[in-house]
């Protein structure tokens, strides 16, 4: 252990010595202990917050079933999720819709999709990846929509953007999912900057809505219903 130079040590001690409180000064222990006891909370922090937390929980449980509150909470949740994930939807007016270019789309075995087969139907084309968990949860919604609206002319094309060996092959070797509702395919080129990207085509095969990033189930369903109602 290094020993400080004696002169320096003494010199510093002398200097610091001027800060020493006088020996005669004795801190008032009794007064300080009383002050400490006064400032300490009578009940622990946990117990202090218990009534507040309980009351809040009861209020939430009572108000949750009220439709207005439920709707507001849902809207807030959607707003937060969309703000965090940067999702957006672009709607095109009927006169401005452009024909969807599906030349890059193929079935899983590499055959070109003939989109004209879908004319007269509202088609949801979703670009997804097996690495995107949000895509997989959206897929369940699309499956539900397909089953609900199939009879009135609705179809879903799930286009995998995975590399050479799309996960869709494992999911659906015959190009259809287990319930036979989603039609799987792949694309030869990167279709969008954001995954998932979902395009809704009207009955004439034109792009009516483009959803990028996170969009809620309700938004999708509203758009699908609006397109199905178009004649």
């Amino acid at each position: 252990m290094a020993t400080p130079d004696f002169d320096t040590e003494r010199w510093v001690d002398n200097r610091l010595g001027v800060l020493a409180p006088p020996d005669a000064w004795i801190p008032d222990q009794a007064r300080a202990l009383a002050a400490l006891r006064n400032r300490r909370p009578r009940v622990s922090r946990v117990w202090r917050w218990t009534p507040v937390v309980t009351l809040t929980a009861v209020l939430v449980l009572l108000l949750a079933p009220v439709p207005a509150v439920k709707g507001f909470a849902h809207a807030c949740g959607e707003f937060v999720r969309r703000s965090l994930t940067g999702g957006s939807a672009t709607h095109s007016a009927d006169a401005r819709r452009a024909l969807f270019n599906g030349t890059a789309l193929t079935s899983l075995d590499g055959q070109a999709f003939n989109l004209s087969d879908y004319r007269g139907k509202v088609v949801l084309v979703t670009y997804w990846s097996s690495r995107c968990s949000r895509c997989l949860s959206e897929m369940l919604w699309f499956q539900e929509f397909e089953q609900r609206y199939r009879a009135i002319g609705f179809a879903v094309l799930a286009i995998s953007v995975d590399g050479s060996e799309p996960a869709a092959l494992a999911l659906a070797p015959d190009g259809r999912d287990v319930n036979g509702s989603l039609r799987f395919g792949r694309t030869r080129e990167t279709p969008a900057n954001s995954i998932p990207t979902t395009v809704l085509l009207d009955r004439s095969g034109r792009v009516a809505v483009r959803h990028t990033g996170y969009c809620s189930k309700r938004e999708f369903e509203t758009d699908i219903q609006a397109l199905l109602d178009e004649r």
Partner: protein, 171 residues
């Protein structure tokens, strides 16, 4: 359980309060403020369960030094202190005549300024050392290797001297 906590507090308070208050008083130089801050330190200790047990004294000293140096660096009450120490209370620190009082106050200001200019660890080492803590106690308080404390203290003393001389000359 609450009674046990209360008794622990009382035991450690009686054992350490005066030394803790003195450590803080070295930096703040205001006895009333030092007592106030020492109570704050104990209050914080009651809210920090991991500081309880055998490590309590070391934790208290560390908190006291931190509180004292923050007070010194904050300079919030500095002008108030200056006014306070320009009064005859300064005589409690050993000065008897107005000249001695002036000289002591001047010297205290210089030392405080230099302590403020040093790193937190150096200032803490010097304060604890001048309060009479052993190297082992300092090592426990500042969480340093006890074999290196002597080196750190020597280095802090060198830094103090250099900074003091640079600012005020080798008077």
């Amino acid at each position: 359980m609450a009674e046990q906590a209360e008794s622990d507090l009382e035991t450690i308070f009686i054992a350490e309060y005066q030394r803790i208050a003195r450590v803080i008083a070295r930096v703040t130089r205001d006895p009333a403020r030092a007592e106030e801050l020492a109570v704050e330190v104990f209050l914080k200790w009651t809210r920090t369960p991991r500081a309880h047990g055998p490590q309590a004294p070391a934790w208290l000293y560390r908190a006291a030094v931190r509180v004292g140096l923050n007070e010194l660096r904050g300079g919030v009450r500095r002008s108030w202190y200056e006014r306070l120490f320009s009064q005859p209370q300064g005589s409690a620190y050993g000065a008897r005549t107005p000249e001695e009082l002036h000289s002591t106050t001047e010297e205290q200001l210089q030392v405080r300024t230099v302590l403020k200019a040093l790193s937190w660890r150096s200032s803490a080492l010097l304060l604890l050392r001048s309060e009479g803590l052993s190297y082992l106690e300092i090592a426990e308080t500042l969480k340093l290797n006890s074999a290196s404390v002597g080196t750190f203290v020597a280095r802090a003393q060198q830094e103090f001297r250099q900074e003091f001389v640079r600012r005020y000359g080798d008077a």
